[in-house]
Amino acid sequence: MSFSKATLIAALLLFLFYILLIFSLLNFFEGRNFLQVFLAPDILFSIRLSLAAATLATLLAVAIALPAAYALSRLNFPGKKIVDTFLELPMIMSPVALGAALLIFFNTRSGTVIQEKGILFVFEFPGIVLAQFATIAGLAARLMKTALDEISPRYEAVARSLGSSAWGAFWKVTLPLSFRGLVSAVILCWAKAVGEFGATVTLAGTMAFKTETMPTAIFMALASADIQKTIILILILVGIGLTALYAVRLVEKRPHIL
């Protein structure tokens, strides 16, 4: 078997593995119940909660990850490699462990002060946002750094020599040139936040109409042996995820000129 044929078969097998996984759901899927389950108040709440929390977590993650990614991509500073390594921590750390670490933090003295004098996180909506933020912020910085790395720093050097400030050069040159990569990063992070379960359930719990996101709702439905609800929620989550991934492909396909 030729090398290219072998790699092609591997790609096909991987594709079939995921397709079969999704198709297996349809064995137990009863279409007539779809709308009824989909429009149920608790499901609609979970969808709205997941989308709102993921969007907020993504915005917060981007706000900190973009400048961090710029610093890691463009600047040399002491401890850069250590910072860079720590950004990958959420990728190798189990989400449950991350959630547990957050939960433990809020039981420390400073965590308690934050809870008492500031915002309540544990078993509350901000907890969902924080759990999702913790999961995606490192990833966002990593993906955005990759997008910025692709743009030669010489563009900025030229822009500055022509009279642009550092902010101006970033805004007028680096940002438009890395825009597609950055948007792809945002979409991927948002999709990951929507699907986040481990950290969310540990920090925010599973309270219906309060902290029950879609992944949590899937877990709860499965725990109560409600297969129909489980399948419909999985399909909705897969639909959201695939739409996001398709959006990434669309962004990447756009012509270079914005």
């Binding site: 030669s152 010489r154 563009y155 050097a157 030229v158 822009a159 500055r160 020599s161 022509l162 009279g163 642009s164 400030s165 550092a166 101006g168 007028k172 040159v173 438009p176 040139l177 270079h256 000129i257 914005l258």
Partner: protein
């Protein structure tokens, strides 16, 4: 005058110590040096993209080393041109003017003049991706010159070009410089390019400014052996000063067991007796004597007999390798093709060559290690 004074810069194991460089206002200055000599570091320091340990950069009497790049009034043209791909040619050209808020009639006229000289008027609505290599070079030059910078820095912008395009852009640069009269600092390792473009050439080797001056000064009268070697000069021979006659303005140098008297203006430093020196003899200056023809008195002192060991056709000229009888050295001789044909030279032919004393250039060494390294090679 633009001056870099006492620049001290350290990067890893690379050191640049107390480098001082003067750029003539309105001139096309060239910073010439081999790869790794620190050319780009100097350039980045001038633009403001690299921090250095100490030093001053003075433009029009004003120190600018503490100003951010955008306040220095120095345009930069990198090797890859870095035309903004998301902007049209027009937007690229206007980028600097907009950033510096220069919207007066003077700037508008200057831009129109640039567009005309660079012949890029028909490209204004196009994006850089659709331009040819030559068009990109023209647009990048236009963008850099549009805000009328106090200094234009060119970082080897012609290195990656094919010979035809390189020649075209070199001509364009010369024309543009004559037409607009900007001050440029062109960084290159290309000797031919430096000679063609440079009004004023600065040779940088291992972070040291080895020589600066007009192109003829640098290329014909190297100050150090490092410069001579970097310039690829041949016919470098170790000798020793036997007598330095200050009154007569003559120096007597011992070379090949002879005493050669050379005008003292043909050296770049003050020489002392017993000092070891390097003698440089331009391959074009060695004269092959025609048998039976009378020899001028001035040539009679330095006549060498020997044999032609090899002849190469270099296209524009013939290269002849000559070995004087009884000496362990070779002389390289460049002959115009018509002279070569006229003389009817062949390999292994015995000939006589004459060298005028004015054809020697003496490079002082302060008895440094360089003369010993050359001795071991010859």
């Amino acid at each position: 005058m633009i001056e870099i004074q006492d620049l001290n810069l350290r990067l890893g194991s690379f050191r640049m110590e107390n480098l001082t460089l003067s750029l003539k206002e309105g001139a096309f200055n060239v910073l010439l040096g081999p790869t790794g000599s620190g050319k780009t570091l100097i350039l980045e320091s001038i633009i403001g993209l690299r921090n250095f340990q100490s030093g001053r950069i003075v433009v029009a009497g004003k120190q600018i080393q503490n100003l951010p790049p955008e306040k220095r009034g120095i345009s930069y043209l990198p090797q890859d041109l870095a035309l903004f791909p998301h902007l049209t040619v027009r937007e690229n050209l206007l980028f600097g003017l907009k950033a510096q808020k220069k919207f007066s009639g003077v700037e508008e006229n200057h831009l129109h003049h640039l567009i005309e000289v660079l012949k890029i008027g028909h490209l204004l609505e196009r994006y850089p991706q659709g331009l040819s290599g030559g068009e990109k070079q023209r647009v990048a030059l236009g963008r850099a010159l549009a805000p009328s910078p106090g200094l234009l820095l060119l970082d080897e912008p012609l290195t990656a070009l094919d010979p035809a395009l390189k020649s075209e852009i070199q001509q364009l640069l010369i024309g543009l410089h004559r037409s607009i009269g900007f001050t440029a600092l062109h960084v290159t390792h290309d000797l031919e390019e430096a000679y063609l473009l440079g009004d004023n050439i600065n040779v940088l080797i291992d972070g040291r400014l080895e020589q600066n001056g007009k192109r003829e000064e640098v290329f014909l009268r190297p100050r150090t052996l490092s410069v001579a070697r970097f310039l690829g000069l041949r016919n470098l021979f170790p000798g020793k000063v036997l007598k330095a006659q200050e009154v007569e303005r003559l120096i007597t140098v011992g070379l090949w067991g002879r005493e050669i008297i050379i005008p003292s203006s043909h050296t770049s430093g003050t020489l002392s007796t017993e000092e070891e020196v390097i003698l440089y003899l331009r391959p074009e200056e060695v004269m092959i004597l025609r048998p039976g023809k009378p020899i001028k008195e001035s040539l009679r002192r330095n006549i060498l007999a020997g044999v032609i060991e090899r002849i190469l056709d270099r296209g524009t000229h013939r290269w002849v390798l000559f070995r004087p009888t009884g000496l362990e050295v070779h002389l390289e001789i460049n002959l115009p093709n018509y002279v070569f044909r006229d003389l009817g030279l062949k390999e292994r032919q015995e000939i006589q060559v004459a060298i005028r004393r004015e054809s020697f250039w003496v490079i002082p060494t302060q008895n440094g290690p360089e003369v010993r390294s050359l001795k071991s090679k010859t």
